[in-house]
């Protein structure tokens, strides 16, 4: 019934195609209390997408936004281990399917999105510094005790492509998406928008490969701007 209400058809149905880009902040939700002097921190990323929107009526549309979205995070050591870190840059190809609910005036309208997404973990990069146990600082003990782990052993700094593990890494991610935004219709053919979006995975970033596994979930908060083009008005009605 709700769905029927939402898609109640009017003669205003229009098809939009657009482009959007923005930044995000991703949080890896897990529990690492067993690791000493170690924190998981959010990291910034980018998102580029091609929104496709089918406007059923003045207040409801279905929207799909295939995108490349980064879901990054950083592991930091603290205290004596300050300076040891790893930034994980993870690129996903993501396809959200959302209901788009809009309200407001003719030109300036607010809207909210709600839906589900599927994503594929396309690429990964790790950048960081680790203490290199077989590269000791031969002078660290000469006058005083080392001041940090990286003073005791030289750090090894790396920036390399992440090698996926067929056993560990779950590259398929499913989740839900919610967002709010404002759109401004320049004319009947163009519409600019700015929106904030949350995506939360409900699949573990790891395959179930061990007993008592602690899951890892991506929570991503993004903001993007974009433009939608009415294909009907630009190229004539499809109907």
């Amino acid at each position: 019934m709700v769905f029927l209400l939402l898609i109640s058809y009017t003669s205003k149905a229009q098809f939009y195609l657009g482009i959007e880009a923005g930044g995000n902040k991703n949080y890896l939700i897990t529990n690492n209390s067993a690791q000493s002097f170690t924190t998981y921190n959010s990291a910034s990323g980018i998102s580029i997408g091609i929104p496709v929107l089918y406007q059923f009526n003045e207040w409801f549309a279905l929207q799909a936004s295939p995108s490349y979205t980064q879901k990054n995070y950083q592991i930091n050591r603290t205290g004596f281990f300050q300076g040891i870190y790893q930034k994980n840059t993870n690129g996903y190809i993501q396809l959200p399917i959302m209901g788009n609910f809009s309200f407001g005036g003719e030109q300036l309208r607010g809207y909210a999105n709600l839906g589900l997404y599927g994503a594929y973990w396309l690429s990964g990069n790790v950048k960081g510094t680790e203490p290199n146990i077989l590269n000791p600082n031969d002078t660290a003990y000469s006058s005083s005790n080392p001041s940090s782990a990286l003073n005791e052993n030289y750090g090894y700094s790396y920036n390399e492509k992440y090698t996926f593990s067929n056993i560990k890494d779950n590259r398929l991610e499913l989740g839900w998406v919610a967002g709010m935004g404002i759109s401004y219709e320049v004319n009947s053919s163009y519409r600019f928008f700015i929106e904030g979006k949350y995506t939360g995975s409900f699949t573990d970033q790891q395959k179930k490969y061990q007993t008592n596994q602690v899951p890892r979930y991506n929570d991503t908060f993004g903001i993007s701007i974009g433009c939608l083009f009415s294909l009907d008005n630009l190229f004539g009605s499809f109907y």
Partner: protein, 408 residues
Amino acid sequence: MIRIPSFKNKFLLLIAFSLVIAFSFSSCRKDLTASNNAQNYPGDSYPDLFQAFWSGMNSNYVFWGIDSTDWDKMYTTYKPLFDNLKVFNNANETLAEQYFSEMTKGLVDSHYNLTFELTGNSFSPSENRLLNINPNYFTDSTFPGAVLDSLIPKKYIDAATLVQGVDTITLDGSATAFKAVSGTINNSILYLYFNNFAISQASTNTQPVFNYFFSMIHNLPNYIKGVVIDLRGNGGGEIADLDYLVGQMITSQLNIGYTRAKNGIGRLDYTPWAPAVVKPWVGGSVKITVPIVALADHLSASMAELTTMAIKTLPNGKFIGTRTYGANGPLAPSVYYNGGQFTIGTGAFGSTGYLFTYTSSTMFKYINGEIYEGKGVPPDIYARETTAAYQSGSDLVVDAAINYIKSH
């Protein structure tokens, strides 16, 4: 007829719908139960000690990527057995120690050792494995010591050059005899033996040995045609000695392999491979161009193996002897790499806890891509002392080194 809801109703509908969806989706996530640090379990019962040990191994053991032990199967097999151990008594302690040993007997880490603090018993999977293959594996170890005491200083080393000594040092908290021998062989080979990598602890009796050796290295006479470093029976020790020993014989950095550690609590969470290097010693070094031979055997372990591999990597280096012990993953306190050694049961049994697990913090991969953990490093030239040779006054391994150097 379908009615279009008013704006207010639409908005309320959207909010309600969103809340239902949000609640539904958030419940799709699994519980983020804390993965407790092994040391934080109370350890006041055998089932709790089992959980602490299993979890500690699951997150701290660095070799899961190459180890064939099915750790999940150990959980399902041994959890019910530990659950049956209701109270602490001698009979249950015997069973518990047996279970912990059975769980770990197939582990590839050859540093690995369990110390049961209540009884003082210990279990080493590598010793167990090697004795199953060869019951005489460790009794063969009489050769390095005997050969050194009665053959090398007396028969092989030129008497006028012999420098040797014994000091008492502390290794892993225990007083240990530290022996060192140096001199020349046939007035053409510079020889060094020491039984542990603890050169920083060399004292009155052994420091002159190292002083002699390094003095010769820094001013190598023309008549010295090769250098032999005898690491047979050497169980390893301090990592800093790698630069101190090999680093004094090179003038540019040497890459000998790679190490990696854990960087997460998951069994397969690893750091990238970091290059393992030997650097020219900060106190001075020279480039030794004559052959450098490492002698090592089935009891050469840990730093002795890393040093052997470092020498083997040199363009003028060679490893003569037998396959080494196979314990070459470097160790550090667990807090450094969030992995490696750990103690369980400190809550119930005090600071020494119930069980201490000694295990590597990092995995080592040789420059050729091979991981020799649990396998041992193969020699370039095989040579092994025999009883017959020893009784006739020959050290076949030193003989092989002499012949090799003569031929180069």
